[in-house]
Symmetry: C2
Protein backbone atom coordinates (compact mmCIF):
# COMPACT_ATOMS: atom_id res chain seq x y z
CA UNK A 1 0.00 0.00 0.00
CA UNK A 2 1.36 3.37 -0.92
CA UNK A 3 1.42 6.00 1.74
CA UNK A 4 0.10 9.47 1.25
CA UNK A 5 2.54 12.33 1.17
CA UNK A 6 1.06 13.81 4.24
CA UNK A 7 2.75 14.53 7.53
CA UNK A 8 0.76 13.50 10.60
CA UNK A 9 0.64 16.99 11.99
CA UNK A 10 -0.76 18.64 9.06
CA UNK A 11 -1.12 22.18 7.93
CA UNK A 12 -4.84 21.70 8.25
CA UNK A 13 -4.35 22.12 12.00
CA UNK A 14 -3.13 25.57 11.24
CA UNK A 15 -6.50 26.70 9.89
CA UNK A 16 -6.30 30.25 11.02
CA UNK A 17 -10.04 30.75 11.48
CA UNK A 18 -12.38 31.90 8.78
CA UNK A 19 -10.77 33.03 5.60
CA UNK A 20 -10.63 36.77 5.45
CA UNK A 21 -13.42 38.19 3.33
CA UNK A 22 -14.70 41.64 2.61
CA UNK A 23 -17.33 43.11 0.29
CA UNK A 24 -16.15 44.63 -2.93
CA UNK A 25 -16.38 48.39 -3.43
CA UNK A 26 -19.41 49.47 -5.44
CA UNK A 27 -17.59 50.56 -8.58
CA UNK A 28 -17.63 47.42 -10.68
CA UNK A 29 -14.37 45.68 -9.86
CA UNK A 30 -15.33 42.81 -12.15
CA UNK A 31 -15.14 45.17 -15.11
CA UNK A 32 -11.61 46.00 -14.05
CA UNK A 33 -10.65 42.38 -13.29
CA UNK A 34 -7.43 41.62 -15.05
CA UNK A 35 -7.97 37.87 -15.21
CA UNK A 36 -11.57 38.04 -16.39
CA UNK A 37 -10.65 36.92 -19.88
CA UNK A 38 -9.59 33.62 -18.32
CA UNK A 39 -12.77 33.04 -16.33
CA UNK A 40 -16.45 32.21 -16.63
CA UNK A 41 -17.11 35.87 -15.87
CA UNK A 42 -15.95 36.66 -19.36
CA UNK A 43 -19.42 35.53 -20.51
CA UNK A 44 -20.78 38.82 -19.16
CA UNK A 45 -20.20 42.47 -20.00
CA UNK A 46 -21.05 46.00 -18.98
CA UNK A 47 -24.07 46.23 -16.71
CA UNK A 48 -24.09 42.49 -16.22
CA UNK A 49 -20.63 42.66 -14.74
CA UNK A 50 -21.89 45.33 -12.40
CA UNK A 51 -24.55 42.95 -11.16
CA UNK A 52 -22.00 40.20 -10.77
CA UNK A 53 -19.76 42.48 -8.77
CA UNK A 54 -22.58 42.99 -6.32
CA UNK A 55 -22.68 39.36 -5.30
CA UNK A 56 -18.96 38.66 -5.20
CA UNK A 57 -16.67 38.67 -2.21
CA UNK A 58 -12.93 38.54 -2.07
CA UNK A 59 -11.04 35.79 -0.28
CA UNK A 60 -7.36 35.69 0.52
CA UNK A 61 -5.52 32.56 1.58
CA UNK A 62 -2.09 31.89 3.01
CA UNK A 63 -0.17 28.80 1.86
CA UNK A 64 -1.60 25.73 3.55
CA UNK A 65 -4.82 27.43 4.53
CA UNK A 66 -7.92 25.40 3.69
CA UNK A 67 -10.70 26.91 1.62
CA UNK A 68 -13.18 24.16 2.47
CA UNK A 69 -13.16 20.49 3.35
CA UNK A 70 -14.81 17.53 1.71
CA UNK A 71 -18.22 16.97 3.22
CA UNK A 72 -18.85 20.58 4.19
CA UNK A 73 -22.02 22.25 2.97
CA UNK A 74 -21.30 23.57 -0.50
CA UNK A 75 -22.55 27.10 0.09
CA UNK A 76 -20.04 28.86 -2.12
CA UNK A 77 -18.37 28.62 -5.46
CA UNK A 78 -15.11 30.34 -6.29
CA UNK A 79 -12.95 31.76 -8.97
CA UNK A 80 -9.22 31.76 -8.43
CA UNK A 81 -7.84 35.20 -9.27
CA UNK A 82 -4.22 34.72 -8.20
CA UNK A 83 -1.94 32.08 -6.74
CA UNK A 84 -2.40 28.34 -6.68
CA UNK A 85 -5.01 26.16 -4.97
CA UNK A 86 -5.03 22.37 -4.79
CA UNK A 87 -8.14 20.22 -4.57
CA UNK A 88 -7.89 16.71 -3.16
CA UNK A 89 -9.66 13.73 -1.67
CA UNK A 90 -8.56 11.68 1.30
CA UNK A 91 -8.96 8.05 2.28
CA UNK A 92 -9.74 7.34 5.93
CA UNK A 93 -6.15 6.27 6.61
CA UNK A 94 -4.76 9.50 5.22
CA UNK A 95 -3.80 8.53 1.71
CA UNK A 96 -4.39 11.52 -0.47
CA UNK A 97 -5.17 12.10 -4.11
CA UNK A 98 -4.77 15.62 -5.42
CA UNK A 99 -7.26 15.88 -8.26
CA UNK A 100 -6.15 19.24 -9.52
CA UNK A 101 -4.10 22.39 -9.15
CA UNK A 102 -6.03 25.56 -9.84
CA UNK A 103 -4.61 28.87 -10.99
CA UNK A 104 -5.86 32.33 -11.87
CA UNK A 105 -9.01 32.03 -13.95
CA UNK A 106 -9.96 28.56 -12.77
CA UNK A 107 -13.43 27.92 -11.46
CA UNK A 108 -13.92 25.90 -8.30
CA UNK A 109 -16.77 24.40 -6.39
CA UNK A 110 -19.11 22.84 -8.92
CA UNK A 111 -21.08 20.39 -6.83
CA UNK A 112 -24.13 18.56 -7.84
CA UNK A 113 -24.90 17.63 -4.26
CA UNK A 114 -25.23 19.85 -1.25
CA UNK A 115 -21.77 18.96 -0.06
CA UNK A 116 -18.32 19.44 -1.46
CA UNK A 117 -16.97 16.20 -2.86
CA UNK A 118 -13.38 17.27 -2.21
CA UNK A 119 -11.25 19.57 -0.12
CA UNK A 120 -9.48 22.69 -1.32
CA UNK A 121 -6.43 24.36 0.12
CA UNK A 122 -4.04 27.10 -0.89
CA UNK A 123 -0.66 26.00 -2.22
CA UNK A 124 0.79 29.48 -2.56
CA UNK A 125 -0.67 32.78 -1.37
CA UNK A 126 -3.92 32.94 -3.29
CA UNK A 127 -6.88 35.23 -3.87
CA UNK A 128 -10.31 34.12 -4.96
CA UNK A 129 -13.71 35.52 -5.78
CA UNK A 130 -16.43 33.91 -3.73
CA UNK A 131 -20.07 33.61 -4.80
CA UNK A 132 -22.92 32.42 -2.69
CA UNK A 133 -24.23 29.43 -4.60
CA UNK A 134 -27.84 30.59 -4.53
CA UNK A 135 -26.96 34.04 -5.80
CA UNK A 136 -24.90 32.66 -8.63
CA UNK A 137 -27.75 30.37 -9.60
CA UNK A 138 -30.05 33.37 -9.65
CA UNK A 139 -27.54 35.16 -11.86
CA UNK A 140 -27.52 32.14 -14.18
CA UNK A 141 -31.30 32.49 -14.57
CA UNK A 142 -30.86 36.06 -15.66
CA UNK A 143 -27.80 35.43 -17.79
CA UNK A 144 -28.14 32.12 -19.60
CA UNK A 145 -24.80 32.63 -21.27
CA UNK A 146 -23.26 32.29 -17.82
CA UNK A 147 -24.80 28.87 -17.39
CA UNK A 148 -23.67 27.90 -20.86
CA UNK A 149 -20.17 28.96 -20.01
CA UNK A 150 -20.28 26.94 -16.84
CA UNK A 151 -21.36 23.89 -18.79
CA UNK A 152 -18.41 24.47 -21.06
CA UNK A 153 -16.11 24.66 -18.07
CA UNK A 154 -17.55 21.45 -16.65
CA UNK A 155 -17.13 19.65 -19.98
CA UNK A 156 -13.56 20.80 -20.20
CA UNK A 157 -12.86 19.67 -16.64
CA UNK A 158 -14.29 16.31 -17.54
CA UNK A 159 -11.94 15.91 -20.48
CA UNK A 160 -9.02 16.90 -18.26
CA UNK A 161 -10.11 14.40 -15.64
CA UNK A 162 -10.20 11.62 -18.21
CA UNK A 163 -6.72 12.42 -19.31
CA UNK A 164 -5.60 12.31 -15.70
CA UNK A 165 -7.21 8.88 -15.33
CA UNK A 166 -5.19 7.73 -18.31
CA UNK A 167 -2.09 9.06 -16.63
CA UNK A 168 -2.85 7.46 -13.26
CA UNK A 169 -3.97 4.15 -14.65
CA UNK A 170 -1.52 3.54 -17.45
CA UNK A 171 1.55 5.76 -17.43
CA UNK A 172 4.96 5.11 -15.87
CA UNK A 173 6.46 7.45 -13.31
CA UNK A 174 8.66 9.12 -15.90
CA UNK A 175 5.77 9.59 -18.29
CA UNK A 176 3.68 11.08 -15.51
CA UNK A 177 6.31 13.62 -14.59
CA UNK A 178 6.90 14.56 -18.20
CA UNK A 179 3.16 15.02 -18.81
CA UNK A 180 2.87 17.07 -15.66
CA UNK A 181 5.67 19.44 -16.53
CA UNK A 182 4.35 20.00 -20.04
CA UNK A 183 0.80 20.67 -18.87
CA UNK A 184 1.99 23.04 -16.21
CA UNK A 185 4.08 24.90 -18.72
CA UNK A 186 1.15 25.20 -21.14
CA UNK A 187 -1.12 26.34 -18.36
CA UNK A 188 1.36 29.02 -17.31
CA UNK A 189 1.57 30.24 -20.89
CA UNK A 190 -2.21 30.57 -21.11
CA UNK A 191 -2.12 32.80 -18.07
CA UNK A 192 0.63 34.88 -19.60
CA UNK A 193 3.30 33.57 -17.26
CA UNK A 194 6.66 32.12 -18.06
CA UNK A 195 6.27 28.92 -20.02
CA UNK A 196 9.93 28.06 -19.79
CA UNK A 197 11.33 27.95 -17.23
CA UNK A 198 8.10 26.99 -15.53
CA UNK A 199 7.47 27.60 -11.85
CA UNK A 200 6.31 24.76 -9.57
CA UNK A 201 4.61 26.40 -6.61
CA UNK A 202 3.70 23.05 -5.04
CA UNK A 203 5.89 20.65 -3.04
CA UNK A 204 7.13 17.28 -4.20
CA UNK A 205 4.59 15.74 -1.87
CA UNK A 206 1.77 17.59 -3.64
CA UNK A 207 3.11 16.54 -7.02
CA UNK A 208 3.33 12.96 -5.83
CA UNK A 209 -0.22 13.03 -4.53
CA UNK A 210 -1.33 14.44 -7.87
CA UNK A 211 0.52 11.87 -9.96
CA UNK A 212 -0.13 8.84 -7.77
CA UNK A 213 3.53 8.60 -6.72
CA UNK A 214 5.58 9.11 -3.58
CA UNK A 215 7.73 12.18 -2.96
CA UNK A 216 10.79 10.01 -3.25
CA UNK A 217 9.82 8.78 -6.68
CA UNK A 218 9.04 12.30 -7.86
CA UNK A 219 12.43 13.42 -6.62
CA UNK A 220 14.24 10.49 -8.20
CA UNK A 221 12.59 10.94 -11.57
CA UNK A 222 13.35 14.65 -11.49
CA UNK A 223 16.99 13.79 -10.85
CA UNK A 224 16.88 11.29 -13.69
CA UNK A 225 15.41 13.83 -16.13
CA UNK A 226 18.00 16.32 -15.00
CA UNK A 227 20.76 13.75 -15.49
CA UNK A 228 19.78 13.11 -19.09
CA UNK A 229 19.61 16.84 -19.80
CA UNK A 230 15.87 16.96 -20.39
CA UNK A 231 15.21 19.47 -17.63
CA UNK A 232 17.24 21.68 -15.33
CA UNK A 233 16.31 22.53 -11.76
CA UNK A 234 16.60 26.19 -10.92
CA UNK A 235 16.16 28.27 -7.78
CA UNK A 236 12.65 29.11 -6.50
CA UNK A 237 11.15 25.89 -7.72
CA UNK A 238 11.64 26.83 -11.32
CA UNK A 239 12.26 24.11 -13.86
CA UNK A 240 13.78 24.69 -17.23
CA UNK A 241 12.42 22.38 -19.90
CA UNK A 242 15.70 22.10 -21.74
CA UNK A 243 14.59 19.50 -24.25
CA UNK A 244 10.90 19.95 -24.80
CA UNK A 245 10.78 17.49 -27.66
CA UNK A 246 12.33 14.78 -25.56
CA UNK A 247 9.92 15.59 -22.77
CA UNK A 248 6.96 15.31 -25.11
CA UNK A 249 8.19 11.94 -26.30
CA UNK A 250 8.45 10.79 -22.72
CA UNK A 251 4.96 12.06 -21.95
CA UNK A 252 3.68 9.36 -24.26
CA UNK A 253 1.57 11.26 -26.72
CA UNK A 254 -0.06 13.68 -24.34
Amino acid sequence: MQQSNQSPFDVRNRRLMEAKSRPEPSTSPCAACNVRHLTVCDALEGAELQQLAEIVQNVELEPGQPLFDEGERADFVFNVTAGCVKVYKLLPDGRRQVTGFLFAGDFLGLANQDFYAFSAEAVSPATLCRFQRGKLEAAMERFPQLEKRLLGVASHELAVAQEQMLLLGRKTAKERLASFLIKLSESAERRGQSKNPVRLPMTRADIGDYLGLTTETVSRVMTQLKGQGTIALMPNGQVELSDLEKLEDLAGGY
Copy 2:
Protein backbone atom coordinates in the same frame (compact mmCIF):
# COMPACT_ATOMS: atom_id res chain seq x y z
CA MET B 1 5.44 -0.57 -18.08
CA GLN B 2 2.07 -2.16 -17.87
CA GLN B 3 0.53 -3.44 -21.03
CA SER B 4 -2.98 -2.69 -22.07
CA ASN B 5 -5.50 -5.46 -22.06
CA GLN B 6 -5.96 -5.25 -25.75
CA SER B 7 -5.48 -7.91 -28.36
CA PRO B 8 -3.60 -6.79 -31.46
CA PHE B 9 -6.41 -7.72 -33.79
CA ASP B 10 -9.06 -5.84 -32.13
CA VAL B 11 -12.81 -5.80 -32.28
CA ARG B 12 -12.52 -2.34 -33.73
CA ASN B 13 -11.65 -4.02 -37.01
CA ARG B 14 -15.13 -5.46 -36.91
CA ARG B 15 -16.77 -2.06 -37.21
CA LEU B 16 -19.69 -3.10 -39.31
CA MET B 17 -20.09 0.21 -41.08
CA GLU B 18 -22.31 2.96 -39.83
CA ALA B 19 -24.31 2.12 -36.77
CA LYS B 20 -27.86 1.32 -37.76
CA SER B 21 -30.13 4.29 -37.26
CA ARG B 22 -33.70 5.08 -38.12
CA PRO B 23 -36.04 7.97 -37.38
CA GLU B 24 -38.53 7.51 -34.58
CA PRO B 25 -42.25 7.23 -35.37
CA SER B 26 -44.10 10.48 -34.90
CA THR B 27 -46.09 9.47 -31.83
CA SER B 28 -43.86 10.71 -29.02
CA PRO B 29 -41.74 7.70 -28.10
CA CYS B 30 -39.91 9.81 -25.53
CA ALA B 31 -43.12 10.12 -23.55
CA ALA B 32 -43.27 6.34 -23.50
CA CYS B 33 -39.57 5.86 -22.77
CA ASN B 34 -39.24 3.50 -19.86
CA VAL B 35 -35.81 4.73 -18.77
CA ARG B 36 -36.64 8.42 -19.03
CA HIS B 37 -36.71 8.84 -15.26
CA LEU B 38 -33.00 7.95 -15.29
CA THR B 39 -32.01 10.44 -17.97
CA VAL B 40 -31.59 14.11 -18.72
CA CYS B 41 -34.80 13.85 -20.75
CA ASP B 42 -36.66 13.68 -17.47
CA ALA B 43 -36.24 17.47 -17.30
CA LEU B 44 -38.95 17.76 -19.98
CA GLU B 45 -42.60 16.83 -20.14
CA GLY B 46 -45.61 16.66 -22.43
CA ALA B 47 -45.28 18.80 -25.54
CA GLU B 48 -41.59 19.33 -24.84
CA LEU B 49 -41.00 15.61 -25.03
CA GLN B 50 -42.79 15.61 -28.35
CA GLN B 51 -40.30 18.15 -29.63
CA LEU B 52 -37.43 16.13 -28.27
CA ALA B 53 -38.73 13.01 -29.96
CA GLU B 54 -38.54 14.83 -33.26
CA ILE B 55 -34.81 15.26 -33.10
CA VAL B 56 -33.86 11.88 -31.68
CA GLN B 57 -32.66 8.83 -33.55
CA ASN B 58 -32.25 5.30 -32.34
CA VAL B 59 -28.92 3.49 -32.47
CA GLU B 60 -28.29 -0.19 -31.88
CA LEU B 61 -24.86 -1.66 -31.25
CA GLU B 62 -23.49 -5.17 -31.12
CA PRO B 63 -20.87 -6.07 -28.52
CA GLY B 64 -17.50 -4.67 -29.55
CA GLN B 65 -18.99 -2.27 -32.06
CA PRO B 66 -17.60 1.27 -31.79
CA LEU B 67 -19.93 4.21 -31.36
CA PHE B 68 -17.24 6.76 -32.14
CA ASP B 69 -13.49 7.15 -31.80
CA GLU B 70 -11.40 9.72 -30.01
CA GLY B 71 -10.59 12.56 -32.37
CA GLU B 72 -13.69 12.20 -34.56
CA ARG B 73 -15.89 15.24 -35.06
CA ALA B 74 -18.27 15.37 -32.13
CA ASP B 75 -21.46 15.74 -34.14
CA PHE B 76 -23.70 13.72 -31.84
CA VAL B 77 -24.52 13.22 -28.23
CA PHE B 78 -26.17 10.09 -26.88
CA ASN B 79 -28.28 8.63 -24.17
CA VAL B 80 -27.84 4.96 -23.39
CA THR B 81 -31.24 3.29 -23.20
CA ALA B 82 -30.18 -0.32 -22.77
CA GLY B 83 -27.04 -2.43 -22.48
CA CYS B 84 -23.54 -1.34 -21.56
CA VAL B 85 -21.10 0.99 -23.32
CA LYS B 86 -17.50 1.65 -22.35
CA VAL B 87 -15.62 4.87 -22.95
CA TYR B 88 -11.83 4.86 -23.06
CA LYS B 89 -8.67 6.61 -24.09
CA LEU B 90 -5.63 5.04 -25.73
CA LEU B 91 -1.94 5.78 -25.64
CA PRO B 92 -0.05 5.56 -28.93
CA ASP B 93 1.43 2.17 -27.98
CA GLY B 94 -1.98 0.70 -27.25
CA ARG B 95 -2.21 1.05 -23.50
CA ARG B 96 -5.80 1.72 -22.68
CA GLN B 97 -7.67 3.44 -19.90
CA VAL B 98 -11.38 2.81 -19.65
CA THR B 99 -12.78 5.95 -18.06
CA GLY B 100 -16.29 4.68 -17.58
CA PHE B 101 -18.94 2.06 -18.16
CA LEU B 102 -22.30 3.52 -19.16
CA PHE B 103 -25.69 1.93 -18.65
CA ALA B 104 -29.33 2.75 -19.34
CA GLY B 105 -29.99 6.37 -18.47
CA ASP B 106 -26.40 7.54 -18.81
CA PHE B 107 -25.59 10.52 -20.98
CA LEU B 108 -22.65 10.40 -23.34
CA GLY B 109 -20.79 12.77 -25.56
CA LEU B 110 -20.33 15.99 -23.65
CA ALA B 111 -17.48 17.63 -25.44
CA ASN B 112 -16.30 21.13 -25.07
CA GLN B 113 -14.25 20.93 -28.21
CA ASP B 114 -15.31 19.95 -31.68
CA PHE B 115 -13.84 16.51 -31.29
CA TYR B 116 -14.53 13.62 -29.00
CA ALA B 117 -11.91 13.36 -26.30
CA PHE B 118 -12.42 9.60 -25.96
CA SER B 119 -13.69 6.56 -27.80
CA ALA B 120 -16.91 4.72 -27.05
CA GLU B 121 -17.76 1.11 -27.80
CA ALA B 122 -20.51 -1.32 -26.90
CA VAL B 123 -19.69 -3.88 -24.22
CA SER B 124 -22.96 -5.77 -24.48
CA PRO B 125 -25.74 -5.34 -27.04
CA ALA B 126 -26.79 -1.75 -26.48
CA THR B 127 -29.35 0.76 -27.68
CA LEU B 128 -28.93 4.52 -27.54
CA CYS B 129 -30.76 7.69 -28.41
CA ARG B 130 -28.74 9.92 -30.68
CA PHE B 131 -29.07 13.69 -30.90
CA GLN B 132 -27.42 15.96 -33.39
CA ARG B 133 -25.39 18.29 -31.26
CA GLY B 134 -26.71 21.43 -32.92
CA LYS B 135 -30.29 20.37 -32.52
CA LEU B 136 -29.84 19.55 -28.89
CA GLU B 137 -28.22 22.92 -28.32
CA ALA B 138 -31.21 24.56 -29.97
CA ALA B 139 -33.48 22.55 -27.68
CA MET B 140 -31.46 23.77 -24.71
CA GLU B 141 -32.16 27.36 -25.77
CA ARG B 142 -35.86 26.64 -25.73
CA PHE B 143 -35.80 24.55 -22.57
CA PRO B 144 -33.34 26.00 -20.08
CA GLN B 145 -34.17 23.26 -17.58
CA LEU B 146 -32.55 20.86 -20.03
CA GLU B 147 -29.32 22.80 -19.91
CA LYS B 148 -29.52 22.96 -16.15
CA ARG B 149 -29.99 19.23 -16.01
CA LEU B 150 -27.01 18.74 -18.25
CA LEU B 151 -24.90 20.90 -15.98
CA GLY B 152 -26.02 18.69 -13.11
CA VAL B 153 -25.00 15.60 -15.05
CA ALA B 154 -21.61 17.10 -15.83
CA SER B 155 -21.04 18.04 -12.18
CA HIS B 156 -21.94 14.56 -11.10
CA GLU B 157 -19.62 13.04 -13.68
CA LEU B 158 -16.89 15.26 -12.37
CA ALA B 159 -17.36 14.01 -8.83
CA VAL B 160 -17.32 10.42 -10.09
CA ALA B 161 -14.15 11.10 -12.05
CA GLN B 162 -12.44 12.47 -8.96
CA GLU B 163 -13.32 9.40 -7.01
CA GLN B 164 -11.90 7.28 -9.80
CA MET B 165 -8.68 9.30 -9.66
CA LEU B 166 -8.47 8.52 -5.96
CA LEU B 167 -8.91 4.87 -6.79
CA LEU B 168 -6.32 4.86 -9.57
CA GLY B 169 -3.77 6.92 -7.72
CA ARG B 170 -4.00 5.60 -4.20
CA LYS B 171 -5.86 2.31 -3.83
CA THR B 172 -4.46 -1.23 -3.84
CA ALA B 173 -5.67 -3.84 -6.30
CA LYS B 174 -7.96 -5.42 -3.74
CA GLU B 175 -9.44 -2.07 -2.76
CA ARG B 176 -10.00 -1.23 -6.41
CA LEU B 177 -11.88 -4.43 -7.08
CA ALA B 178 -13.98 -4.06 -3.95
CA SER B 179 -14.88 -0.47 -4.84
CA PHE B 180 -15.73 -1.52 -8.36
CA LEU B 181 -18.06 -4.31 -7.33
CA ILE B 182 -19.88 -2.12 -4.84
CA LYS B 183 -20.35 0.73 -7.31
CA LEU B 184 -21.57 -1.62 -9.99
CA SER B 185 -24.03 -3.15 -7.58
CA GLU B 186 -25.35 0.25 -6.54
CA SER B 187 -25.61 1.35 -10.13
CA ALA B 188 -27.59 -1.77 -11.02
CA GLU B 189 -29.94 -1.12 -8.14
CA ARG B 190 -30.58 2.42 -9.34
CA ARG B 191 -31.64 1.03 -12.68
CA GLY B 192 -33.92 -1.47 -11.00
CA GLN B 193 -31.69 -4.42 -11.78
CA SER B 194 -30.36 -7.08 -9.49
CA LYS B 195 -28.09 -5.53 -6.91
CA ASN B 196 -26.93 -8.89 -5.60
CA PRO B 197 -25.85 -10.95 -7.36
CA VAL B 198 -24.58 -8.25 -9.70
CA ARG B 199 -23.93 -8.90 -13.36
CA LEU B 200 -20.55 -7.97 -14.91
CA PRO B 201 -21.20 -7.56 -18.62
CA MET B 202 -17.60 -6.60 -19.32
CA THR B 203 -14.50 -8.78 -19.62
CA ARG B 204 -11.67 -9.01 -17.12
CA ALA B 205 -9.59 -7.05 -19.61
CA ASP B 206 -12.13 -4.22 -19.58
CA ILE B 207 -12.23 -4.26 -15.80
CA GLY B 208 -8.45 -4.17 -15.69
CA ASP B 209 -8.32 -1.25 -18.09
CA TYR B 210 -10.86 0.53 -15.93
CA LEU B 211 -9.05 -0.10 -12.67
CA GLY B 212 -5.51 0.41 -13.94
CA LEU B 213 -4.64 -3.28 -13.52
CA THR B 214 -3.88 -6.25 -15.75
CA THR B 215 -6.41 -9.00 -16.48
CA GLU B 216 -4.27 -11.40 -14.50
CA THR B 217 -4.35 -9.22 -11.43
CA VAL B 218 -8.10 -8.77 -11.72
CA SER B 219 -8.49 -12.51 -11.97
CA ARG B 220 -6.17 -13.21 -9.06
CA VAL B 221 -7.86 -10.73 -6.77
CA MET B 222 -11.26 -12.14 -7.71
CA THR B 223 -9.99 -15.58 -6.75
CA GLN B 224 -8.64 -14.17 -3.52
CA LEU B 225 -11.96 -12.52 -2.63
CA LYS B 226 -13.72 -15.74 -3.50
CA GLY B 227 -11.30 -17.71 -1.33
CA GLN B 228 -12.01 -15.58 1.71
CA GLY B 229 -15.74 -15.89 1.14
CA THR B 230 -16.33 -12.23 0.35
CA ILE B 231 -17.76 -12.90 -3.08
CA ALA B 232 -18.88 -15.90 -5.10
CA LEU B 233 -18.53 -16.25 -8.86
CA MET B 234 -21.65 -17.47 -10.61
CA PRO B 235 -22.51 -18.37 -14.17
CA ASN B 236 -23.09 -15.67 -16.81
CA GLY B 237 -20.64 -13.27 -15.26
CA GLN B 238 -22.74 -12.82 -12.18
CA VAL B 239 -21.03 -12.13 -8.87
CA GLU B 240 -22.63 -12.65 -5.52
CA LEU B 241 -21.48 -10.14 -2.92
CA SER B 242 -21.62 -12.61 -0.05
CA ASP B 243 -20.14 -10.33 2.58
CA LEU B 244 -21.02 -6.79 1.65
CA GLU B 245 -19.73 -5.36 4.90
CA LYS B 246 -16.33 -6.95 4.39
CA LEU B 247 -16.31 -5.70 0.85
CA GLU B 248 -17.07 -2.17 1.97
CA ASP B 249 -14.24 -2.33 4.48
CA LEU B 250 -11.90 -3.46 1.73
CA ALA B 251 -13.06 -0.67 -0.55
CA GLY B 252 -11.40 1.73 1.87
CA GLY B 253 -14.15 4.17 2.71
CA TYR B 254 -15.68 4.53 -0.70
